[in-house]
Each structure stands twice: as structure tokens, then as C-alpha cells.
């Protein structure tokens, strides 16, 4: 079974909220906090490795971006993925979901045969949740979003898709594209063996010309007019007491006093 996983490098979404800064419509990378693979993309890697554990096969990871730190983008390799393909070029810097899905689909065609493409449900930076579906649309593949479990039998996959009240069990014909949510289970830790193998492995790097990308289609359809940080007026009233117990009880009294209770 051949699986392609699209995984993106992002600013660490778990960095302290106070370190988050926007300047001139751009997000400033927080000082001293290295980027990470977008967490849902790591879930997609985990889903791929679970299938590989069960069925054997090959997992190829595809990452598109600029300034891709090798230590970061190689993490899926150290978790157990087999190949890493990077689409790294300044021409990809200004892309949106449309141009990125376009470039990824060209790269996937160049990689060749696959049974399944997995993506994270949404990237932790723009929270768009569109690229995976765009790749499916461009490649003419059926798709399921928000998977919490994937089982493959013959030429089909049985997928549990989460919804607010539980989940639906959906069958899909392969090849297909599936986006993965964190409910798939915690991504595995890299093993020592995996880390050594990842160190030795050189990623394949492709430029727009290598995948035959039309430069005109690497621009944006969704135009960013403005990026700003919403102001949150902080005016918390901390309730104190002689003892912590007293503080807890006084909070209840306070809420009664202001008629919240």
C-alpha cells in the first residue's frame, strides 16, 4: 500500500499566546521557539504509519514551503515514514489554498502510484482546512474529512468521520484522499533507530519547474486585505481569602452578589 502524506511546517501553535506578534500584515516567528510540523499533519503521519504497521507498504511525506528546517521536516521520517519530498522555493511563499493544492497535486502526480493521500484536517497557522479537499478535487479523487479511524480492506477504506454528536462510519473507494483529526491517537515518538535513519536520508527537493508548475497559478485567489490581533480587554477580578478554601467560597458569594448566580 502506497500512502502520501502532506505535512506542513508551521510556527509552533503551542507557543505562549503572549509571544504571538503581527507586524505589517505578517506573523512574526516567536524568538527562540522553533517551528514544528502542524499537529494535525502529524496525526496524518500517525494514521499512515498505523496503516503501514497493519498492511505494510510505503509512506512518502510531501512538505511545501520556504525555509524548511531539515530537523523539523524530517520528523515524520524519524517516526517511521520512508521518503521525504520537499517543494521548497520562494515562489511558494505567497501561496494560498488554491496555489498550494495545485502545486501539491502536481508533485503527487510526479511521485506516481498511490492508494491513499492523507492530510491534517487543517493547518495550525491559517486554519483553512481546504488544501486536502483541493488536492482531491484537482486529482478527481473521492474524499473524507475529519477521520478518527481508517481501516483498509482490498480496494476500499472504512473511515470513522467525527461530527459533533459522535461519528459516521463511511466506506470510500480507493484511491482516495482523507483528512485526519487528532482523535486518531497521539503521534508516536521518534525511535532512536528512526532518528538515525532520518539523519542519513536526504530529502528530494523539487522546484516549481521540476513539477511543471505554471507560475501564473502560484499566486493567490484569496487576497489578504488585513491581518490583525484582536484586542482582549483584560479586567479580571481575582478573589482572594485568608485560605484557598475561603477564596473559593467568596467567589460564590461574589457571583451571587452580582446576580450571576
Amino acid at each position: 500500500m502506497n500512502i502520501i502524506v502532506c505535512a506542513k511546517q508551521v510556527i509552533d501553535p503551542e507557543a505562549p499566546p503572549a509571544s504571538f506578534k503581527v507586524e505589517a500584515n505578517k506573523v512574526m516567528p516567536p524568538a527562540g521557539v522553533p517551528p514544528v510540523i502542524s499537529p494535525f499533519d502529524e496525526s496524518a503521519v500517525e494514521a499512515a504509519l498505523k496503516l503501514k504497521d497493519a498492511k505494510g507498504g510505503k509512506v512518502t511525506v510531501l512538505s511545501l514551503g520556504t525555509n524548511l528546517l531539515r530537523d523539523v521536516v524530517k520528523k515524520p521520517l524519524s517516526m517511521g515514514a520512508d521518503e521525504l519530498v520537499l517543494l521548497e522555493d520562494p515562489a511558494f511563499a505567497e501561496g494560498d489554498s488554491y496555489s498550494i493544492a495545485y502545486a501539491l497535486s502536481l508533485a503527487i502526480k510526479k511521485i506516481g502510484a498511490f492508494d491513499l493521500i492523507l492530510c491534517g484536517r487543517q493547518a495550525a497557522d491559517w486554519d483553512s482546512g481546504q488544501v486536502g479537499l483541493g488536492v482531491a478535487e484537482i486529482l478527481g479523487l473521492p474524499s473524507i474529512t475529519l477521520a478518527r479511524k481508517i481501516e483498509v480492506t482490498d480496494s476500499k477504506a472504512k473511515v470513522e468521520r467525527i461530527n459533533p454528536d459522535g461519528y459516521d462510519v463511511i466506506e470510500i473507494s480507493l484511491p482516495a484522499l482523507i483528512t485526519v483529526s487528532n482523535e486518531i491517537g497521539a503521534p508516536r515518538y521518534p525511535t532512536m533507530k528512526g532518528i538515525m535513519a532520518a539523519k542519513r536520508k536526504e530529502p528530494v527537493v523539487w522546484k516549481p519547474a521540476d513539477i511543471g508548475a505554471d507560475p501564473a497559478r502560484l499566486g493567490r485567489r484569496a487576497k489578504l486585505v488585513k491581518l490583525f490581533q484582536p484586542v482582549r480587554e483584560g479586567k479580571v477580578e481575582i478573589i482572594t481569602g485568608e485560605t484557598p478554601e475561603e477564596a473559593g467560597a467568596k467567589l460564590a458569594l461574589k457571583l451571587r452578589e452580582i446576580k450571576v448566580l
Partner: protein, 332 residues
């Protein structure tokens, strides 16, 4: 599509009624349609949905397209994208709104790619730019740390709308509108997924999204045992239990309890966060609450930046005292 006109809302139906998000989008769609001097239409897709057309009119639609077909009973991507594509090509709307729901977030991007246009997901504000007459689409990004405003030059301009971000118009049963039935015309062999089963994960008590009080626990609760104490407080306040993602991921509570960007969006009267640090992704789901109360041992925790009231200390000590007093007050 230079001659595109009108605003079209995909109105979802559940339990025989328009979903709240559908009425909220009709309220917002009405404003956009007026700003453009154009019509507001709704589309109902499903099986047995024609009865809801009048309801959509009562909430503001001038026209309702009904695509009622047994093959549309369950949401399936191929089928829904196909009927929406057909409708969009027939009525050429300038704006299409869908809910940021399980359906909308799956349907909108594929539809946008199919129609060679762009979508913006999870919008919390939508306005018409007075000079360009294009749709200004505001969405939280970076887990809610920032907000971005997008426009796009191609029609239809597609957006999904976050629940509770817009307000519905009061229902007016005397409003008149036109109902147009459209045949689904689906080729069953082109639908490449089958829904085998729908599993409901029952959470006892009041539904989280509808509760007027939510008591949420985070990583700081430390285990399933601790959630029993939260449940005791929730019960005293007739509220529901919520959680941050780590508490769900650890299996202390059901995944259905997750509040946040990728969980549920709640806007209760009282939101009580216990052992939750206040990540932007969690806050995305609860800052609509009227009063936010935080219990945290770390005085610098980000949750105190959005909370109205707080107690600093170990919740194992502060919360039982709070719960005890609350019980006295509400029973007395």
C-alpha cells in the same frame, strides 16, 4: 462571471427544523443582499426537506431552492458538491454562504475548487466593501491569535460562517417568497462513498452547546476522577461538562466534550474553566460566554486575560469550597 447576482445560503436542516446556523446566515445574508441591492435565496438539500421552505422565507429568504431526493438523505461529498455545482451554475449567485459545520467545512472547499473560485472558512464577520462591492471575509487564524480579512475577485465568493457569530432575524411567518424545486439529477455511480453507520456518543445530561452553564476541565484536572467533582458542580448549576483537548485526548472525558477551535463553540451565561491554561485554540470556543470564571494555580495563566473572575490556587482545594457555597446559595 460578471453577471453573477444574489446571495445564496445553504440552509441545513436537523430534526425537521432549520439549524440555528442556517437562521443566523439568513440574518447575515439579508444584510449582505441589501448592501448589494440583490436578492437573498436559500437552498435546502436533503430528503424530505421541502416542508422547511416556508421557514426559510420566514427567516428572511426571498427565494428558496429545494433539492429533495432520497439519495441526499445523508451528507455525501460527491452528491452534495454535484447538486451545489448544478445550482450555482443555474442561478449564478455572487455570494454563497454555508455553515462551518461538518457538512459546510467539507462541502465549501470542494465546491470552490470545482467552480474555479475561492472560499474562506470559519468567518466571524462578513461585510460588503462599500467601494468595490466585494465581500470582506473575516476569519480567525493562528488558532484565534489573529484575524484575517480576505476578499476574492472571482464569483461566486464562498464563505462558511461560524455558529453564533451572526444573529438571526425574528421569524416572520407572514413573509412571502418563491419556492423553486430543482431535480437532483444525480448519477448514483458517481457517488464514491457510502455511509454505513451513524454512531452517537451519548453524553449524559444537558447538551453542551445549549447549556447556560458550562464547567470545563483541562490538563490540570489530572484524571477522570477529578471530572466527577466538576460534574457535581455542573449538576448543582444545571450545567454541562466541557473540556480542553488534552483532557479529551487523555480519555478522561468523551471527545464530544471538547470546547475550542476544533471542538464545540459554546456561548453560555457562565463558563467555568478549571485547570485550563487558556490557549488561543481553547478560547476560540468559549469567549462568547457572558461571564468567564477561572480556577488555576498559575497567576500568570493566559486564562486570566479573558476571565472576569478568578481564584488562584490548587483547584482541589478552591473548587470544593466554591461548589459547597454554590450549593448552599442555589438551594437556599
Amino acid at each position: 462571471m460578471p453577471d453573477s447576482k444574489g446571495v445564496l445560503v445553504h440552509a441545513e436542516i436537523a430534526d425537521g427544523k432549520l439549524c440555528a446556523i442556517a437562521t443566523e446566515m439568513l440574518g447575515c445574508g439579508r444584510k449582505l443582499a441589501s448592501a448589494l441591492g440583490q436578492e437573498l435565496a436559500a437552498v435546502l438539500i436533503g430528503s424530505g426537506v421541502s416542508n422547511n421552505a416556508q421557514e426559510a422565507i420566514a427567516f428572511g429568504a426571498d427565494k428558496v431552492y429545494v433539492i429533495d431526493d432520497p439519495t441526499l438523505a445523508d451528507y455525501r461529498t460527491d452528491a452534495y458538491v454535484s447538486v451545489m455545482e448544478k445550482l450555482a451554475k443555474q442561478v449564478t449567485p455572487q455570494v454563497i454562504l454555508l455553515g462551518q459545520t461538518s457538512t459546510g467545512r467539507d462541502l465549501a472547499p470542494r465546491l470552490a475548487f470545482r467552480l474555479n473560485t475561492a472560499a474562506t472558512l470559519d468567518c466571524i464577520a462578513l461585510d460588503i466593501d462599500p467601494s468595490s462591492k466585494r465581500l470582506l471575509q473575516t476569519k480567525p487564524v493562528y488558532g484565534g491569535n489573529a484575524q484575517a480579512v480576505f476578499t476574492c475577485d472571482t464569483d461566486p465568493q464562498i464563505a462558511t460562517v461560524r455558529s453564533k457569530a451572526m444573529s438571526a432575524l425574528p421569524q416572520d411567518a407572514s413573509r412571502k417568497g418563491e419556492v423553486i424545486t430543482i431535480a437532483a439529477g444525480l448519477d448514483a455511480s458517481a457517488i464514491r462513498t457510502t455511509v454505513l453507520n451513524k454512531v452517537k456518543e451519548q453524553v449524559a445530561g444537558i447538551k453542551l452547546e445549549d447549556a447556560s452553564v458550562v464547567v470545563s476541565g483541562g490538563r490540570g484536572i489530572g484524571g477522570a476522577e477529578g471530572f466527577k467533582q466538576l460534574a457535581e458542580l455542573a449538576q448543582a448549576l444545571k450545567g454541562a461538562i466541557g473540556a480542553s483537548r488534552p483532557a479529551c485526548d487523555s480519555g478522561w472525558v468523551s471527545d464530544a466534550c471538547q470546547v475550542g477551535l476544533t471542538g464545540k463553540l459554546v456561548a453560555p451565561d457562565i463558563y467555568i474553566a478549571v485547570g485550563i491554561s487558556g490557549s488561543s485554540q481553547h478560547l476560540a470556543g468559549c469567549t462568547g460566554a457572558k461571564t468567564i470564571i477561572a480556577f488555576n494555580k498559575d497567576p500568570d495563566a493566559n486564562i486570566f486575560k479573558v476571565a472576569h473572575y478568578g481564584v488562584v490556587g490548587d483547584w482541589k482545594v478552591t473548587l470544593p469550597a466554591f461548589t459547597k457555597k454554590v450549593k448552599e446559595l442555589v438551594s437556599g
